[in-house]
């Protein structure tokens, strides 16, 4: 059963290849436009690239999570799995994981390549990847929560970013702080631990929260 449901999510993403490639294209567009606009200042670019990467991840998250449940809501699948006798929380967990796997993960794969373009050291590159791997699942979870919360509303596309962006800030602060600490040579473990704590807290609790929110959303 688990295999089949996971496979469904995979197939769904592979049939809509644009949902995988859009974040990547978006990422490379931003990455290539910044040097054009700022000019070939090696030091400055080196300093702002982690920020650019994080901005892309945030936009990707907003894009992919905005209408995350819309299709399932419109075709009735949401009602079907909420009334099914299999574990709803587990299905929602699968959905979060596959959303991350097909939107944020492709970007993370290309970070080493981007690091070479911008002459970022191995150590800095490693810490950018670490913060992204730990932080982006949390962002995706929060984004999906926002879309579940506004599902019952007719015009929700503006509401989601307004609701969820404040919750992104702790993750952004600690990620930026970790990256900053590494480049200035100070200890960075504390920030990584806090990010890990957020991940460990958010990822298992989110499916339960989502189940409750979704059953409220389809109730009206």
């Amino acid at each position: 059963m688990i295999k089949t449901l996971f496979y469904k999510e995979f197939q769904n993403y592979f049939r809509n290849l644009s949902s995988i490639f859009l974040p990547l294209i978006f990422f490379f567009l931003i990455i290539s436009i910044f040097p054009l606009l700022i000019g070939p200042d090696k030091v400055l670019l080196n300093k702002i690239v982690p920020g650019i990467v994080w901005i892309t991840i945030i936009f990707t998250t907003l894009l992919s999570s905005n209408n995350f449940f819309k299709d399932d809501y419109n075709n009735g699948y949401l009602e079907t799995f909420l009334t099914s006798d299999s574990s709803v929380e587990f299905i929602l967990f699968l959905k979060i994981i596959s959303c991350w796997l097909f939107t944020c993960f492709p970007i993370i794969i290309f970070i080493p390549l981007v690091s070479i373009f911008f002459n970022i050291s191995m150590k800095d590159s490693f810490i950018i990847i670490s913060t992204l791997v730990i932080g982006s699942p949390v962002l995706i979870s929060i984004g999906i929560f926002g879309s579940a919360l506004t599902l019952g509303l007719a015009k929700n596309s503006i509401l989601v970013p307004i609701i969820i962006l404040p919750f992104f800030i702790p993750i952004l602060i600690f990620s930026a702080s970790a990256i900053e600490s590494v480049s200035s040579g100070t200890p960075y473990e504390m920030q990584i631990y806090i990010l890990l704590a957020l991940l460990v807290f958010v990822l298992p609790t989110m499916p339960y929260l989502l189940k409750y929110t979704l059953s409220l959303s389809i109730n009206n």
Partner: protein, 219 residues
Amino acid sequence: MYMENALENFEISISSATCLKSNNTIFSDINYTLKSGELLLVMGPNGCGKTTFIKSICGIQKLEEGAIKLNNVDISHGDSQHLGNFLYIGHKNSLNDSLTVFENLEYLCALDRSIQNNIKSEITRNLSFFGIENYKNYLVSKLSEGNKKKTSLTRLLLTNKKVWLLDEPLSYLDENGANKVLKLLNNHLIGGGIIIASSHIDFSVDIGNSKVFYMDNSL
């Protein structure tokens, strides 16, 4: 967990069920008791709350008052494991447009724990019941509404659940398809199941042991 061994005592009772939506009463004080082998046909004009009533039985719609009991266990809060006996097929088909007919059924069946593991051959076999075996590998987005409905209703052939909640099972279907659905419903009732179905067509004459409930909502 499933009630296969307790068919004689199998009973759903709806007592003084009342539902409000933004301060409008959708239905109030509905009392029905259904035993194994009985059909409750919910009828009424468009917008009278047939769908809401069906949804309230499987816990999607919360009741303001009253209780839905399955063998004397209150299930109206929607969190009891007894909900595992319900198969809800709404008027929306729950079909994913970017997957094929076969894939959709495979995944819908993965959610249904009353179905045993070897499902692939079963799906292929049962698609021919509605005569849609040729559409097996078609994307659902390419199908007509009637064939989508048939795909979704093929779940009735695959499931082992005892209580069927069907919202407009006959909509979009041609005469032949509708007759086949009625045959399915009859077989389920003979097998000791319970069906609660909504429709604006009165098909209770074609089915033995049925109760008809006319909803009349004067908003």
